[in-house]
Symmetry: C2
């Protein structure tokens, strides 16, 4: 980490960042002013009665927040029905992703399901196949509430061959983190009675793609949930309304939306999404398969290309970290491309297999910064650099890029996706 820093895509002309890592925290805000009562008097919204309480039975964000939306990368896919829109991580804070901003990945478009007609089936190697209505699902004993991140295995996938997309919404926005309400899948499997020969389950969705993924029975009987609510209310249609599978810590594609069936079998099924897709082509031409776990990862969300620095003096660096192995225990932040590190403050609720929020209060004197974050979880796993990942896995992969991200922040406060090596 003490080698000189170089940039892959951009030459940094003014790398005066040696002191950035050690900048003193100053509580004073330069911009705090002597009060000008006129400013308050001129606030026109104090002059009229606003909208009544009946205006919005279901509320929406302020019109001044209209840029805070999910966004696509249009050249990424041929069809909008098999595409992705990204969570605006740079505009969020805390750990909860609002339901309206949770990234979307469809394979056959959004199924628009009438919950009264939806059925959930347990079949295959079981004593007694069962079909549940949604009412029946909600009558199952053992309901739980759990906070989990859901990350698409392809998140940051475009970065395998170097810095590409300018914004954490696009590089890291295939993730969301919500509270799920549901019942452990184990309860349904036990109700049906799993055969001693059962070793795997197949989860199947009711959308046009009939999404199907094989999951080891051990995981299905451990912490998987059959969930119908997120952040307190019914699942959103694009997140699998009325029912989805929750597979904590594992790749998002396995969290089958519009869940209609779980079949028990004695071996994996080798469906399309676990053979031609969601496998990792290595440098020697072989592919890794069944790479379910999402390893520890983090990203600085502010500042970042979509959220530049606007003022010198006191500033707050913020970001998110998560690990499919367990709980985030520590996040280190570098402001000089990995030479010097400081430990960030993990702040707020912090659950296993959920997103954690971190902050570094720092003072910016206008120098160039190269921001990185490095997550560590309670298994001892440390987030690697992109080069460390490529050493073992080449650069053919699409999935499972959890390498350290770098943002270059220029003296004018603007930021860019770069890579150091």
């Amino acid at each position: 980490m003490s080698e000189p820093v170089t940039l892959n895509r951009r030459r940094v002309l003014n790398l005066g960042i040696a002191g950035a890592g050690a900048a003193a925290l100053t509580p004073a805000l330069a911009a705090a002013q002597t009060p000008d009562p006129l400013i308050v008097e001129k606030q026109e919204w104090t002059q009229y009665l606003g909208e009544g309480v009946n205006a919005k039975p279901y509320g929406v964000p302020s019109k001044f927040e209209k840029e805070v939306v999910r966004r696509e990368v249009e050249w990424l896919t041929a069809s909008r029905q098999s595409s992705v829109s990204f969570t605006p991580l740079h505009a969020l804070d805390g750990i909860i992703t609002p339901n309206g901003l949770c990234f979307v990945r469809h394979h056959g478009g959004e199924a628009e399901i009438d919950p009264a007609k939806h059925r959930f089936m347990i079949n295959g190697m079981v004593d007694k196949p069962l079909v549940f209505t949604m009412e029946d699902v909600k009558r199952m004993p053992g309901r739980v509430n759990r906070v989990y991140f859901l990350e698409c295995a392809a998140n940051s996938g475009m970065e395998w061959r170097g810095a590409q997309l300018n914004g954490c919404q696009f590089t890291h926005g295939m993730i969301h983190n919500v509270v799920y309400t549901g019942v452990p899948l184990k309860a349904f499997l036990n109700e049906a009675g799993v055969s001693p020969k059962g070793k795997w389950v197949l989860a199947e969705g009711a959308d046009a793609s009939a999404m199907t993924r094989s999951i080891p029975l051990e995981k299905a009987m451990d912490d998987c949930l059959v969930a119908w609510a997120m952040n307190g209310e019914a699942l959103r249609p694009e997140q699998g309304y009325p029912l989805r599978l929750v597979v904590p810590g594992w790749e998002g594609n396995m969290w089958v939306k519009w869940l209609r069936r779980v079949e028990v079998g004695d071996q994996p099924w080798a469906q399309r999404e676990e053979t031609s897709k969601y496998t990792d082509l290595l440098a020697d031409g072989r592919s890794r398969q069944h790479t379910f776990l999402m390893d520890a990862k983090s990203v600085v969300t502010n500042p970042s290309p979509q959220a530049p620095l606007k003022s010198k003096g006191p500033n707050v660096l913020s970001g998110v970290a998560w690990s499919g192995r367990g709980t985030i225990k520590r996040v280190d932040v570098s402001m000089d491309g990995g030479r010097n590190w400081r430990t960030a403050r993990i702040e707020g609720p912090n659950f296993p297999r959920a997103m954690a929020r971190f902050y570094v209060d720092f003072d910016w004197n206008g120098q160039e910064l190269m921001l990185q974050s490095r997550a560590m979880d309670d298994s001892g796993y440390v987030q690697p650099t992109k080069d460390e990942l490529r050493k073992y896995r080449g650069s053919n992969s699409i999935y499972h890029n959890n390498g350290i991200q770098t943002w270059l922040v220029r003296p004018d406060g603007s930021a860019e996706n770069v890579e150091v090596s």
Copy 2:
């Protein structure tokens, strides 16, 4: 608690509920069926490609959830600009209230504030009055994320004189529970330098009502937050966008929305909302003032008048509990109007001064039920009956009714707001 149960408003003809409290939990669901593959084949949403990912940059609930909205009680107030809409507690689960469903209480309508023009002032008995832009507010060191309930002091206020409104949305829906992102108010006060003479602060809103409340300095320097985000995104307009005060565990009216000013003084200000309103008229004609704390309280949300029981056999009773004094430690549930009690399962994240979720898995044979819940917090406080409250406070009050709520559930599954004494 062993006296015969009688009803204030309704005579119960068939009170066959003695055994309900001890009903065995059975895991089997009567409605689970032999699979009928035709059911799955007939699901039309498997037959067509759905909407693409670009359809909703900011997502909305399913069209099948259109009844899950905030609702008003139209006769309650003369004007929609000074009124309330209620959180649909009966349709929610877990502990997070979705932003679009958080109850609204306005006093001068919804201020529609341009954050670029908004200012936040600290003045009064301070060394150095300060004015902050929103950018400056967000640059303050020490940002935190905290989950808190916000309950209007008038929640359940219409129940002082007996059971009135048929549904927990209306009896208990002036509450929400979200994750706030902000900076402790203490940091702003310290930045300005509070005079040794300072004992109180006045918080003032930028809406047309210029909402103003006095808060003891001790509380202001303890856990109050100046918050700009809820559940990950910017505050909603009706919740004070772009800035609100968070006063954990204290009555909602003090959580000033559209926060523009905090003044330090040596005594309370005796504003309208702390004299003619938000005081409690006792039986002897005197009034309690400065009754800030929201005591421990709970309500069964399911079943309830808006969420009847639909099936015999296994069912899940659910509800929420909260306390301004600290953390909910235990919730007991009675199914026979307070004769017999069982301890509910508190499930999911459970934070101080935040809403907790509880469940009781039970078996219903069609008998009449009288459902109650009783919350206990870690201070040892136990939620009282309504009669216990009236003994000390009469029945003239509007505010601070945290008495035990009763739902009568009839053999047909329908439920009604009743009162036992």
